[in-house]
Amino acid sequence: MDEISMAINGIRVSCPPGITILEAAEQNGIKIPKLCYHPDLKPFGACRLCLIEEEKNGRVMASCVTPVAAKMEVLTDSPRVIRHRKNIVRLMMAEHPESCVVCSKGNRCQLRGIAAEMGLGETGLYPIPNYKSIEQANPFIVRDLSKCILCGKCIRADHELVVAGAIDYNLRGFKSRPATLYDLPLEGSNCTFCGTCVSICPTGALSPKTTGYVGTPEKETLTSCGFCGVGCSILMGVADDRAVEINPSGLNGSVNGATLCVRGHFAHDFLNSKERLTQPMIRGESDLKTVSWDEALDRVASRLLAIKKDYGPQSIGFFGSSKCTNEENYLFQKMARVLFGTNNLDNGGSMAGRPALQIIDEKTDGRSRINPLANLEKAEVICVLGADPCQSAPVLSYYLKRAAKRGVPLIGIDPRKTDLFPFSTLWLAISPDKDYELINCLAAMVWKKFAHDSNFIERFTEEFNLYTEALSSFNPERLCLASGLDMKSLAYAADLVKGKKISFVVGHGITQQKHGARSMEAILNLSLMTGSLGCESGGLYVITKENNQVGAWDMGTVPDALPGRIPLGDGSGRGEWERAWDVKISPDQGLNVVRMLEEAEKGNLKALYIMGENPLRSLPQHERVEAALKHLDLLVVQDILDTETTRIADVVLPGAAFSEKGGSFTNMEGRIVCFTQVVPPPRDGKPDWEILDLLGLKMGYPKAYRSLERIRAEMVRLIPMYAGLQETPGDAWTWIRRTETEKTLRFSPLQTTDQGPMDDDYPLTAILGSQRFHLGGGTRTGISKRIKDFGLKGEVSLSSKDGARLHVKSGDTVHIQSREGALIREARIDEDLNEGQIFVPTAFHKNDAMNLVGLSVLGSESSQGLKTCQVRVEKLEGSK
């Protein structure tokens, strides 16, 4: 369309049609004051500060809601406009309490800023403060509605961005205020404490509840959130070299925009906790004693080299971290492979479902490494499988809820009705072991309707015939009989996806499940059949649990692949790395973390070097893991917190949290986010790459890197996937490089499924899952002050039928026993659960939920998975 030509303050400007006058002015560098406008929200016109005057007819209008029109001539600062604007601000100030001195919004208050800019001090009006009591029962958000100017930003952010619907305007006129349903405190509403409203509030009406610091941070630095795989872009406010506040960066094109979740916003308190490690320690006779860096590193180097000499490279294991940076993981695996000649490498991500991710990577030959969440804006139909993103990756759930609100059909496939249920078009509450059959039945029904994408299949795939033939053995009627689903729902699901590109969102209910790899293949088959790959309106989004799960794999901190996801078995790829590093690399897979522990139990593994992981909390069977680790000759733990694992270590090295160093993380989208240091590490703590660098030097590596840039330069040179890092500034992002491939996509053969008989001793299925307040095992979130203060108990949920049968009411204490272990927890009756299933939240009580499942290699034949297990529940006597 043609550009529109108009005049603003006498200056000729041309702008695209459809935008507002405010936007046109801003694009041309003309500033108009505003309080209710936000680029991510729909125009609202509440505050009236952005008034402008049309020169020709003298009309005064709000520029944020008035679209540009040809030949318009507007004035943004005519005397008349200024007079009106001043009066509006004076009226707001007359209703506003004069508490600026103690207000935590301080210098960032936009009302105060605008008043100052206009030179308004005294209003000259009779003050009519609209006092409301301050509400601050929860540990996250302080609501002081006397400071509310009714701009509606919090409400609109709640409805349009986060889609929680916790608040809206209540009452009318002078009494009008944002309120929850029944005007309850926030904790009584469906508020998720994401804090998006706090960051967006222009005044002090909503502010974060801070314990240590009140006021404006000295500076704000851009960095990346340290929790889940979404990897949100955040601004960290700093005072006295401490992180005191987190806000979403709001950067254009960032994954989260103006939103965050409760973890990102409030759970970073662990950075300043007293549990931080600040000095290197060595185990003396019995206790750990503080030593100098030199002494600690000497000890690690001499012991590791001695063990290598005595027992060979296979006797040492390296457990890296899906929470450490790409640069650190690169150095870590290089140390293991170059200095010790071992592939005994792994990271926490292997237990968070890497095998399933690996399947996709192999089958698509690396074609589905980049999945920008922004593409969900263009989704045609969304299928959420075994995922509870509202809890595990909240910012991703906002994308899904926004899509559903726009009318995109959303199919939920999960045994539990999660918080996405109210947004879903259809919910298939399938039991956890039936998802493979369900996906194949769905595919069979799509095939029956001839609703496949034959163009795509012909161009890119092979063995479609074999696939459709195999599909005929999947009978939807039989599935319905076996699973309690009804044919009508299943047919509806097939109708919803037919002829459309499907966006699959896959969670740990698939990737950590016993047959996760098989289900992943089925999902991939269905996306090939519907041509849902390689386009923006379809896609395969796999939720990663931790922020650098993808990066740790890309960097080769895994037993079976070199950096750049080069399989060890790939001779030419391995050869390149051998030449680059000038060493021989064994083509044999190393031990993964579970095998390392098993070898430690047998006494074959003598030393383990752990960087940034707490296996004593995150892995199943804590006692077994502890015994295995205690059996080692040497346990080195490099971490930021005093954890269950550091307490039994022989050497403890204090690292630096993400905010205390530079580096990069790779999120679930395939976006590589670089960040720089925000604050220095506490006391003697050092960035982890620096520790590894120093250690390498002591162990005979000829040359130290001494800077992050040098490590990054080597990565850029040797890992084509990460070549984009080269021109990326320290606080920007780039994407994983697409690999060119000609390989056709092959449909995976289907398998017959047969479930083993149910064990009558353990009649219930326990589903393990996360809650949004915690991440993973809860090592970090568990010590974050505000999360602790919220006082969650982590109740186990039972269906009402099971509750009645077992005489368990909400508030009773129950004993849960599986074949592997047991735990005691308070129970809660949940109407949305299916009979025969219970839900056990992870991360609570030292993550004892993991004791219910067995320690096993995810994806292996013997593994029962980490997501579900068979249990028996008994009510404990003495409970109410």
């Binding site: 409805h159 619907g165 916790a166 608040i167 809206d168 009318r172 309120a179 349903l181 029944y182 509403s189």
Partner: protein, 160 residues
């Protein structure tokens, strides 16, 4: 005394009839207000599900309009006009007298749920000033005796 029991089946069927689009919210609320006499707060979530809105949004609409109430009202809702014309013609005394006659303050409902006293900014019947309404009937050109006799009429009806 308790207000009339709510017929939940009736309420559910009203909601069911209006199920669907968001624009249906106000007609739906009007019908509930009309039939039940108020909008039971417990029904907000059901209503919001039916019209695909957040419960807080539905509450916002209810509390915005004076025509909707979240609390039960009396059988007879007495509305005294406090508009300019009525004020000039002495509606302040009319209000004072009504308060005394009914033993209620502005916005209150009698314990036996017979009367609710409200004031409105203007009834749009300025030519009848001072005016009031009882339910849907206008009473104009009021004088203290006339107010007493109108109210007595409703009290008497109750007495029978």
């Amino acid at each position: 005394m308790k207000p009339k029991e709510i017929d939940w089946n009736q309420l559910s069927s009203i909601i069911e009839n209006h199920k669907g689009e968001q624009w249906g919210l106000i007609p739906l609320l009007q019908e509930i207000q009309e039939t039940i006499g108020y909008i039971p707060p417990e029904s907000i979530e059901k209503i919001s599900n039916a019209v695909n809105l957040f419960p807080a949004q539905v509450q916002g609409v209810i509390t915005f309009y004076a025509g909707f109430s979240l609390t039960p009202k009396g059988k007879y809702v007495v509305r005294i006009c406090r508009g300019t014309a009525c004020h000039v013609k002495g509606s302040r005394s009319i209000l004072r007298l009504t308060k005394k006659e009914l033993g209620l303050e502005k916005g209150e409902t009698s314990p036996d749920y017979q009367f609710t006293l409200e004031t409105v900014a203007c009834l749009g019947a300025c030519f009848l000033a001072p005016a009031m309404m009882v339910n849907r009937t206008y009473y104009g050109k009021l004088s203290p005796p006339k107010v007493s006799s109108v109210l007595a009429q409703f009290k008497k009806q109750e007495g029978q």
